[in-house]
Amino acid sequence: MVVRVEREDFDVGVEVARLTAGHTDIGAIVTFSGTVRGGSGTDAITAMTLEHYPGMTEAELARVEAEAVKRWPLQASLIVHRIGTLKPGDNIVLVVTASAHRQAAFAAAEFLMDYLKTRAPFWKKEMRGDGQARWVAAREYDREAAGRWEEVLPPRS
């Protein structure tokens, strides 16, 4: 169970190999990577800057990951989130979940992303082609996506 916040890019293959090295109990590995959307027309962006709350970010990601481990039988998991200034097409976030069977790995990866999006203290600022900068607004969809996990499996106390 690993959580990292860093400026550097990541290599999905390298990360998966490192996470699962030495394991013979894993039958399913799910990876999700999120990248910077460039947009188009008036929504086109030239760069995106990610700010975060050092200390709380790592603590919150660890809490989210611990919650996933309580809900699903995971052999290994990884969250990497980048900060700093990124360009369209760049990697932003990586989630890897490894389990004996695919159902747990798929569900846990989706859960981690949904919870990360509504709980981890990151903020995106977009730079537009016309030189204007704009903070990205939170989406109602993300809150709903995180909320549905309460119905699927109530959090354990």
Binding site: H52, E60, I92, R119
Partner: protein
């Protein structure tokens, strides 16, 4: 007791500072009361907290509601809804 107050994203831009150490007056007992008091400290604070209902709060690096107590807090952070991932 001095408390470290942190501001992030557009809350930071509007207050004009990332963090400060403040001695909270005795009548400030909750996060909501702290926001009201901060708003009285100057026009930049009034502007930053004009939409209190949108601003999210963490006490000692845990998400809290605006009804949370500030007693014993070492670090209180104000920020917009998060947009990572």
């Amino acid at each position: 007791m001095p408390v470290k107050i942190l501001y992030f994203a557009w809350v930071r831009e509007k207050t004009g500072k990332a963090e400060e150490i403040l001695d909270l007056p005795a009548h400030v007992t909750t996060v909501a009361e702290l926001m009201v008091w901060l708003k009285s400290r100057g026009p930049e604070y009034a502007e930053a907290f004009v939409r209190e209902d949108v601003i999210r709060v963490a006490v000692d690096r845990n998400h809290v509601k605006s009804t949370a107590a500030v007693a014993g807090a070492r670090e209180i952070a104000f920020f917009p809804p998060v947009t990572g991932g």
